[in-house]
């Protein structure tokens, strides 16, 4: 019920394309199922980024189709059968390129937002 008292006040809308980067980055530390990916993104962003299932699963399936992720059914530590996603070699390459794209965007935004002197 904690969720109810604290509505999505601090939620930030994900920029187009950043979800891919977040997923690829999260899977860098090993294979995970969708639920754990969403949890990891949420925790690591300090509860700011909450990925909705309606965006997460389409993204996972899209990334898999693009060959950046591979999936496998496994039993989780609490005995629940779940679909685990892992980075492929192409996925690792994609992660690196998304990283540099992101850095470019951050620098560009910083440049624009810099107060005029």
């Amino acid at each position: 019920m904690q969720q109810k008292e604290q509505p999505y006040r601090n939620r930030v809308e994900l920029l187009q394309g950043t979800l891919d980067l977040l997923i690829l980055q999260t899977l860098q530390w090993g294979a995970q199922h969708g639920h754990a990916i969403a949890q990891a993104i949420r925790t690591r962003s300090g509860d700011v980024l909450m990925v909705e299932t309606g965006s997460l699963y389409p993204a996972l399936h899209r990334l898999e189709r693009q060959g950046w992720l591979a999936s496998k059914w496994k039993v989780s530590e609490n005995n629940q059968r779940a679909k685990y996603y892992a980075l492929t070699a192409a996925g690792k390459k994609q992660l690196a390129s998304e990283h540099s794209k992101w850095r470019l965007l951050v620098n560009a935004m910083a440049g624009v937002l810099r107060p005029a002197e």
Binding site: Q3, T53, G54, P58, Q80, K83
Partner: protein
């Protein structure tokens, strides 16, 4: 690379019933994991499951958007459209057969005529310098063939 992607696509297309089951199980396991977690945090099982489902949103919609990512949409639509077309043709069988016969005769006739025209008139003869070919024949020395013919 492109070939691999195509093979992946085709393989998955023929196993899309299994993909459908997989997706169902995948979303189901997401709900189960989240519910377990909430129970672990001290919620009652019923209210945990209810709030997970509420937070999850429209399961059918999530599945549909995810399914769209497989990229079979257009293939399935094409199959549906052809089925519809066949049904419609069967509905007015007489008209369909007549139209098909007319098309067959028309196309067949035109093709036959063109084949002849192409072979006889349009294509050059299959020899080098075919424009220098002459016809030679014998004529009896004395005959009553008129001179203009000779």
């Amino acid at each position: 690379m492109a070939g691999n992607i195509l093979r992946f696509f085709v393989q998955r297309f023929f196993r899309r019933d299994r993909l459908e089951d997989d997706l169902h199980t995948e979303l189901e396991s997401h709900v189960a994991l989240e519910t377990q977690e909430r129970i672990h945090r001290g919620e009652s099982p019923e209210s945990a499951r209810a709030s997970v489902l509420r937070e999850f949103g429209n399961v059918a919609l999530v599945s549909e958007v995810t399914r769209d990512m497989w990229g079979f949409g257009w293939v399935e639509e094409a199959i549906q459209d052809s089925r519809y077309a066949i049904r419609m043709l069967r509905k007015s069988l007489g008209l369909s057969v007549t139209v098909m016969l007319m098309l067959a005769l028309g196309i067949g006739g035109a093709t036959a005529i063109f084949t002849v025209v192409n072979g006889v008139l349009l294509r050059p003869l299959p020899f080098p310098n075919s424009d220098r070919l002459v016809t030679i024949w014998e004529v009896p020395r004395k005959s009553n063939i008129p001179t203009w013919w000779r």
